[in-house]
């Protein structure tokens, strides 16, 4: 059998087109979910100002679109972060939260919420976000420090992450133990992943962190195709494995920290969207990474739509829905598919 590039990529390109179309449908549905409905034509005419309708424009630009962009950002960041973690740590269970980033962020947020009565803080949402981000970055620095001592061995990095998760979970519980009921409620509420917590200003900050990182990962994807093998093989094929690991860990932690700090914990996406794509098109990271972005964003958008309509007028945070509906679908694909993870 002689292989042509067309033959190798045909299935992959058609999968990409299908995933992109489903994502587009999810975006349009998300914009149309709520009390005010936009038809497709209405949507375009309002967005491009062919129609002067300040109310609709306000709803579109300040309520619906930020939600969509948040879903795209979180879906992309968490999925790519998961795929890279699974690659670098050579562990299918790895996810953006394996290294304890989310627990570090929750602890940071808990510090901000419980100390707001203190003398040095005036409580605001920005304070909480800032402290959460510091908590996540602190976790990342400890992981890098421990990893550096042990040559960034996957086992050491994973175990350090598990250890730090427990440590920050305990510290958060300690803070909660001495907190008022309102503060405990605020901490718990903060952890619910939600796409409705940010405005454009925060979205711009996330874009600045997430987009360059995603571009880096996609450009480096041929090298990530090699690092699925052992380090000696990857090095013999010309990959600077140590540098790729360090940069990969820093950037995945950074984008996860940004998403968790601004939106709370959205589990499951980072773990399973790369796995579903692997089951469909294999482990070529040139396709795996962009398609995981499409799928992660799509899952988040549909989960958010379900969360908004299932108990109308109440909205269930997207972080709850992703696992609730996503896990059974994942199990179905896992058991139905002939491929392996």
């Amino acid at each position: 059998m002689v292989v042509s590039h067309k033959q190798y990529t045909k299935n992959k390109f058609s999968t990409g087109i299908i995933l992109a179309l489903i994502l587009l449908i999810a975006i349009i549905l998300s914009i149309n979910t709520g009390n005010i409905k936009f038809g497709i034509f209405k949507l375009f005419s309002v967005f491009f100002r062919f129609e002067d309708n300040p109310t609709l424009l306000h709803v579109l630009l300040n309520i619906r679109l930020p939600r969509v962009v948040n879903a795209l950002l979180a879906g992309a960041a968490l999925s790519v972060s998961g795929a890279i973690m699974q690659n670098l740590l050579k562990n299918p269970l790895a996810s953006p939260f394996t290294l304890g980033i989310s627990h570090g962020a929750v602890f940071g947020a808990a510090v901000a919420i419980t100390l707001n009565k203190g003398i040095f803080l005036s409580y605001s949402i920005y304070t909480v976000v800032f402290f959460a981000f510091i908590g996540a970055i602190l976790t990342m620095l400890i992981i890098l420090f421990i990893g550096a001592i042990k040559g960034f061995s996957a086992y050491v990095v994973i175990l350090a992450g598990v250890g730090l998760s427990s440590l920050f979970a305990s510290l958060t519980m300690l803070l909660q133990y001495f907190s008022t009921d309102e503060e405990v409620a605020a901490i718990v509420f903060w952890t619910f992943g939600d796409l409705n917590k940010t405005t454009w200003n925060e979205i711009y900050i996330m874009l600045l962190i997430v987009i360059p990182s995603l571009v880096y990962f996609i450009l480096k994807s041929p090298q990530y195709n090699i690092t699925i093998w052992d380090d000696a093989t990857a090095m013999s094929l010309g990959v600077n494995v140590k540098m790729l690991k360090i940069t990969g860990l820093i950037l995945t932690c950074l984008i996860t920290a940004a998403i968790v700090s601004f939106m709370g914990i959205i589990g499951f996406i980072g773990l399973i969207s790369p796995h579903i794509i692997r089951l469909i098109i294999g482990n070529d990271h040139r396709f795996l990474l962009p398609y995981s972005i499409f799928l992660g964003s799509t899952i988040l958008l549909f989960s958010d739509i379900i969360g908004r309509i299932i108990l109308t007028p109440a909205t269930i945070p997207v972080g709850i829905i992703t696992s609730l509906f996503g896990v059974p679908i994942f199990f179905y694909i896992l058991l139905k598919n002939k491929g392996t993870i």
């Binding site: 292989v3 050579k90 090298q223 195709n225 093998w229 052992d230 013999s236 692997r278 294999g282 392996t340």
Partner: protein, 250 residues
């Protein structure tokens, strides 16, 4: 041609290799023999610049590898490590990674031609899109060798390529390596445990004991005394025509 000059390597103050010297020419198979822990894998890693020796140098076609960047090394050397980990990927994608030192993001027509030639040479056409975890040990070893030779290297380093294979597959792999070495005029350095297989296919022999060469040269250096010295095992060498056969005594 590969020249290894006076290589000394220590790790944690323990000497692993001591003054290793040898030359291996194009189109020749050199096999490294020695008991477990005698420094065979370390020597291969030093030749591939994965480890840095304290003393000595390695020359590939008179060029010191110290002056070569990792990507240039990857173009000159194909390395097959002892296989311990098989990720979820296909035969085709595995061979494709062997072209990565030459390709960037997109795969060229030339890359695909070379991949197809290698697939034909190694007889892997029927399992091209199979998951490497679902193929036999012999097939997997062929895939790993295909990945190493698809970049048209000058040097091929193989660390115990026939371990865990049945006798038929052992000979099939060694015959393939013999053919590749002769046809493509590659310098092949192979770490082997089976002395009889080594005697059948290799041109040159290096016998290591505690990190030092105790004998090197053509078939004739493999004597009962040298084997006893290297492995602490008494053996008898008998001849099947021209071919020596090593039989353990005990």
């Amino acid at each position: 041609m590969l020249e290894v000059n006076n290589i000394t390597f220590s790790y944690n103050n323990k000497e692993i290799l001591n003054k290793i010297d040898f030359i291996s020419k194009s189109g020749e198979i050199t096999t490294i023999l020695g008991e477990n822990g005698s420094g065979k894998t370390t020597l291969l890693k030093i030749i591939d610049k994965l480890l840095k020796p304290q003393n000595g140098c390695v020359l590939i076609e008179n060029q010191n590898i110290k002056n070569l960047k990792s990507l240039e090394m990857a173009k000159k050397i194909g390395y097959c490590p002892q296989n311990s980990y098989s990720p979820q990927t296909t035969v085709f994608e595995t061979i494709l990674t062997g072209r990565m030192p030459f390709t960037r993001w997109f795969i060229s027509k030339n890359d695909l031609e070379l991949i197809n030639d290698t697939i034909k040479l190694m007889g892997l056409s029927d399992i091209l899109f199979n998951n490497i975890n679902h193929i036999s040990g012999g097939e997997l070893q062929k895939v790993i060798i295909a990945r190493a030779i698809v970049s048209k290297p000058k040097i091929l380093l193989l660390d115990e390529p026939i371990n865990h294979l049945d006798i038929k597959n052992q000979h099939e792999i060694m015959q393939l390596l013999y053919k590749i070495t002769k046809d493509l005029q590659i310098t092949s350095i192979i770490v082997l445990h089976d002395i009889n297989i080594a005697l059948r296919y290799a041109d040159n022999f290096i016998v290591l004991k505690d990190g030092a060469i105790i004998a090197s040269g053509a078939k004739e250096i493999i004597t009962e005394n040298i084997i006893e010295k290297a492995f602490n095992l008494k053996v008898k060498i008998i001849y099947d025509g021209e071919l020596p056969l090593v039989l353990p005594l005990s």
